[in-house]
Each structure stands twice: as C-alpha cells, then as structure tokens.
C-alpha cells in the first residue's frame, strides 16, 4: 500500500498520487471503442477457457455422433452419410454457440459493469459490437473443429478450400446477425441462465426440424411444410451447395436476406435496450 500522509497540511502541498492530470482526451470513435470491447471479449476467452468447453464439445460430439450413429441406417454407411450430414453439423454447431452473445450481456447487466460503460461518452452499440468479436472467435473455432474433424474421418468436399471458406463465411455472417437476437434477449431477461434456456428452446426445434439430418421428401407432408419454411433449412441447403462447389443462388440469397433482416431488426433494438435508462 502506498504510504499515506493524512495531515491536512500535507494534502494541500503535495497532491496525492493517482490524480488525473491534463485535459480529458477526446472520446474514442465507434471503431476504437468497439475494438476495446473486442479486446475485452478476447481476454475473457483467455481468462475463462472453461467457457469454450461447449464450443469445443458440441462440434466434436455432433460430428462423430451423427456420422456413426445414423450413418449406417440412413445412408448405408457412415462415410456416405458424412458427405451429407457434415454441412448440417457445421450449421448446428455454430448456431448453438450463438447463444453466448446473449449471456455475456446479461452477465454484465447483472453485476453492474453496464452502468460504467453507459456513463462513458462512447458509441452506444460499441459494447455489443465489441462482444461480437469474441463471438466471431468462438464461431470460427466451432466451424474449424467440425471441418477439420470431418476431413479427418473422410469428408471430401467437392468445392475444395474455396468452397469450405465460402461456406464458413456465409455461416459466420448469418450467425453474427442471429447473435443480435440473443443480445436483445440477453437485455430483456434477468439472468444469463434464463437467456440460455430461452435460446435453447428456440434453437433446438429450429435445428432439428430441418433438412440437417435427412432429405425432407421422406417426411410427412405437414412436416415437409415446416422444414421448407425453416430458415435453418435454407442455410443448410446453401452450405451444402457451397461446400459441394456449385453455389446455389436461391438459398444463398435467402440466407443473406435473412441476415440483413435479423441485423436490421435486432441491432437497433439491442442498442435501444442497452441504453434504456431504467
């Protein structure tokens, strides 16, 4: 502890250490503030690596389980099924990880640090966009694991490296837009656990009632209708096409449109909720 002089005379002559000096600097711009929050998000990953457990476990478990559990029954052999299921596994793994975009904001709000950020003269959305940087790291990790593991057990995408990169890119863009929806939820619900539960309730039916596991023509008509309307189906179709090396304009355009709509709706709502004064 710094040695202190407590007499009034001393405090008048020698200012205590730590006092701010000089004029206040200009507030950071939107990019600098977002970068600072991005740095924070990466530091959190570094300091709390346990938080990556899901991000690592889900892709590994999904890739191995679906391939070997269903492969023989659904496609005759795990190897043949792997070519079909891997784009779906990729989508599922990344989408399930998106829910962390909401839990972080809920945690910040619960412990009060949100107030400190909100009292700063920074771009209103910077804490959210900065946190997305940490999310990108998580999404890339999840996607990378699925692809690497898939390649290791025999997945051979016809699209090659460009197809895989394009697929990951499209998925990343969609996942980031979806992150804003969880961010909104993270600011509406009281605890991180509640955000997790709510996101799970939405994500599981959405990913399961899709074309991830089997082609829809084997399903009853009513379910085919649901699957056809499910945005995850479009995403998976677009991913399959990209990885196979012949991009499908329709589904890809649909995914990009969904991405734009999600971001246009939930980014402003998130900003509004983050800065609402109550």
């Amino acid at each position: 502890m710094t040695v202190l002089t407590t007499t009034d005379a001393a405090s008048e002559t020698a200012p205590p250490p730590g006092l701010p000096a000089g004029p206040r600097p200009e507030p950071p711009g939107a990019r600098a503030a977002s970068a600072a929050f991005g740095w924070r998000a990466l530091l959190k990953i570094k300091h709390v690596p346990e938080m990556l457990l899901d991000v690592i476990a889900i892709p590994v478990v999904f890739t191995l389980m679906f391939t070997y559990l269903f492969g023989g029954a659904l496609a005759g052999s795990p190897h043949r099924y792997l070519q079909f299921i891997l784009p779906g596994t990729l989508v599922m793994a990344v989408l399930l990880v998106t829910m962390y975009a909401g839990t972080g904001l809920a945690t910040d709000r619960a412990n009060g640090i949100t107030d400190r950020f909100r009292a700063l003269p920074i771009w209103r959305l910077a804490p959210v966009t900065g946190a997305l940087l940490g999310d990108i790291a998580r999404y890339l990790l999840a996607a990378g694991l699925v692809v690497i593991l898939g390649l290791a057990i025999g997945f051979r995408p016809a699209g090659g490296a460009p197809g895989v990169l394009a697929g990951i890119g499209l998925l990343l863009v969609f996942a980031l837009a979806l992150s804003f929806a969880w961010a909104t939820m993270g600011l509406l619900l009281r605890t991180p656990q509640a955000v997790m539960s709510a996101a799970t309730v939405v994500l599981f039916p959405l990913t399961l009632a899709s074309n991830v596991f089997v082609a829809p023509h084997t399903m009853p008509g009513w379910l085919q209708a649901i699957v056809a309307a499910n945005p995850v189906s479009h995403l998976v179709t677009a991913e399959r096409a990209l990885l196979a090396g012949h991009p499908a304009a329709g589904p890809t355009a649909w995914v990009l449109l969904a991405t734009a709509v999600l971001a246009a709706v939930f980014a402003p709502v998130t900003a509004r909720l983050y800065n609402r004064r109550r």
């Binding site: 200012p15 205590p16 006092l19 600097p25 950071p28 600072a36 009060g112 400190r116 909100r118």
Partner: protein, 348 residues
C-alpha cells in the same frame, strides 16, 4: 502524474437558465420503482469546484440521484443539469464531463486489475500506450501493483473498491460522482480516498459524494445535503447543519461523587436545562441549548465549568461535543441515521 493543480478549471459551457456557476443542479427529481417512490421531488444545487456530501441512510435515494445525474436513469419527473447540460436532452455531453465510481459502477471480474484499467483508459479515449501507462500509474498509486496481474474475482473487497475508484480516475472530469467510495475500505485507504477527493476539488473539479459516514461528509464536504425518503430535507455547510441542531453535549466527571447533587443544582441553575446523573456516580451530562441567550453552547459550557470550580466543586475532567451529524440527522428526521456511529467529540 502529480500535476493536480494544473488541471483545467470548471466548465465553460453554457449554463442552465437558472444555474449560474452550478456544476450540478436538480429540480424536483422524482423516480418510482414499481410504485415505490425512490425520489419524491429532490432538489440539489452544487457549485462548481466544491465537494457536496449527499448524506442519508440506506434507501434514502442517494444512488438513484447519482444514477439520474450520471445519465443512467431517466427521472419520472423533474429536471437536472450537470456541467451545464440537461441530463435528459444532452446525455452525451454530460457523459463527456463526468466520471462515476462506487456502488453504481463496477469492474470486470474475469479480467485482471491492469486489464480493467487499460480497458477503461482506451474507452476514455487514450491511445493504447497511454492507456497502459496510465493503468500502471493508477495501480501504483492505489497499491495494487502486486495484484495487477491477477483476476479481479480473487481480489478482496477493499482491493476491488480501490480498483473501482482508480478506474474512475483514468482521465480527468469536470464532475465526479462518487457513490459511497469508502464503504468497505480500511482506514489507510479511506484516508487516501479523502486526500484524492480534496485534491480533485482543489484542482477545480466538482465532487458529489454519497456517504453513510457522517464524519466523512463533515470532513470532506463544503456543503452537505441530507436526503431522506427521496427528498433533500436539509442543505448547508456542516457548520450550519450543526447550528441548526442547536445544541451540544457537556459531560463532566467530578473528583468526588459526594459533590454530585450540589454540582447538579449549580449546573441546572446556570444552564437552565435538565442535567442527568449518569450510572457512573461521578458523571453528569447536559444538553446545552443554543440560540436562547445568543451565547454559543460552547461558551455556555465553558462558563458553567468555571463556575463549578468557584463553587468549590472539584472537576476531574470535562468534555464538550459539537453536535455530531448523527445528532443533526436525529434533529432533522426525528429518527436515527441508519449507520449510527457516534462522531468523536471534542474533548478537554
């Protein structure tokens, strides 16, 4: 970085219509939380370059007031200006002028102390290198350099408080909101915080300090606003508030318990106020009234003690206490302040 005196002076911005020279002005602030009133028409005026102590028990509305002034909360009624800017209409300009510490703001538990300070530095507009340098200075000044590389979740309560305060001193501000900055600090750290608050004001900044420590407001504040049930019930210098309570307590210990009845009669006649015989057989206490004779209570007390000597009564020791702020609070609200701690009385 010890150049506090070289800090820029208070704001040169336009002032609210009715508030020349005021760094903080609040008019009839109201806030309800789920029907329960937290603020019920609180008024506050703090001159630039002064320390204002916002004093009150738990739940009185201190933190709500700070949160409204720091643009974190919208009031249900009333208006407020900070550094000349309307908190409702110009929150960004207010945020450029303020710094916030204490209950209302905290730090990231997952990050290290140093990372927290660097983050706040960068968010305050410092370049990366400057943010690092400033973090190092603050860690050193607040005795946190040894813990700097450890995650905050492992910090003690006092260390966390010091980090929290350090974070709010990253860059200079016109107005500092310090929400119970010394709660949970050891005496040495508290003295350091007191020194910093004085130096901030000496450098031209305005400090709004909320506290439950009556002594703290007395020592630091130029003026004190006493808040209770969401309204400011009294405002003035510490001296004025004490005078408003209008009394002090005289305690006299006699050398000989046998002289106590005589001493009591003598004192009652002189002070014309009830004199209590305490359980201690040599102790007498009396509340010396103020304004009645125009003579200050302390002089009345001194005269009374001298007169006892002339009457042949041997006084072992005596003490006369200014009313503590606790007594002031009691006089204002007719109920004791929540964190009752008897302020040290002046003694013989």
């Amino acid at each position: 970085m010890n150049g506090a005196q070289a800090k820029p002076g208070p704001a040169r911005h336009g002032r609210p219509p009715s508030g020349r020279g005021l760094a903080i002005q609040a008019e009839r602030l109201e806030k309800r939380f789920g029907g329960r009133p937290a603020l019920a028409g609180a008024d506050l005026a703090v001159a630039a370059g002064t320390v204002c102590g916002l004093l009150g028990p738990n739940g009185a509305g201190k933190t709500t007031t700070v949160r409204i002034l720091a643009t974190l909360l919208a009031p249900d009624g009333g208006r407020a200006w900070v550094a000349g800017h309307d908190v409702a209409a110009e929150p960004r300009l207010v945020r450029r002028a303020i710094a916030l510490a204490g209950q209302s703001a905290t730090v990231d538990e997952d990050l290290t102390g140093r990372e927290n300070l660097v983050l706040l530095g960068r968010l305050s507009g410092l370049a990366r290198a400057a943010a690092k340098a400033r973090a190092a200075e603050l860690l050193d000044a607040f005795g946190l350099e040894k813990a700097a590389a450890g995650q905050v979740k492992a910090y003690s309560g006092g260390m966390r408080r010091r980090l929290d305060l350090a974070a709010s001193l990253t860059t200079s501000a016109e107005v500092y909101f310090l929400d119970e900055p010394t709660t949970g600090l050891d005496p040495a750290s508290r003295a350091q915080v007191h020194q910093i608050i004085r130096a901030l004001a000496a450098g031209g900044a305005t400090v709004l300090l909320t506290t439950q420590y009556l002594e703290e407001a007395d020592q630091l504040a130029d003026r004190i606003a006493v808040i209770d049930h969401g309204t400011v019930i009294a405002e003035g210098t510490p001296g004025q508030l004490k005078a408003a309570a209008g009394s002090g307590t005289l305690r006299i210990r006699l050398a000989d318990p046998a002289q106590r009845p005589l001493a009591r009669r003598t004192l009652t006649g002189l002070l014309r106020t009830p004199v209590q015989e305490e359980p201690d057989p040599v102790l007498l206490t009396a509340t010396v009234p103020g304004a009645r004779t125009g003579q200050p209570p302390s002089e009345q007390a001194a005269t009374a003690v001298t007169s006892l000597g002339r009457a042949g009564i041997t006084v072992g020791e005596f003490a006369f206490g200014q009313p503590s702020l606790d007594e002031v609070f009691l006089a204002l609200t007719s109920q004791p302040a929540s964190s009752t701690q008897t302020a040290t009385k002046g003694s013989s």
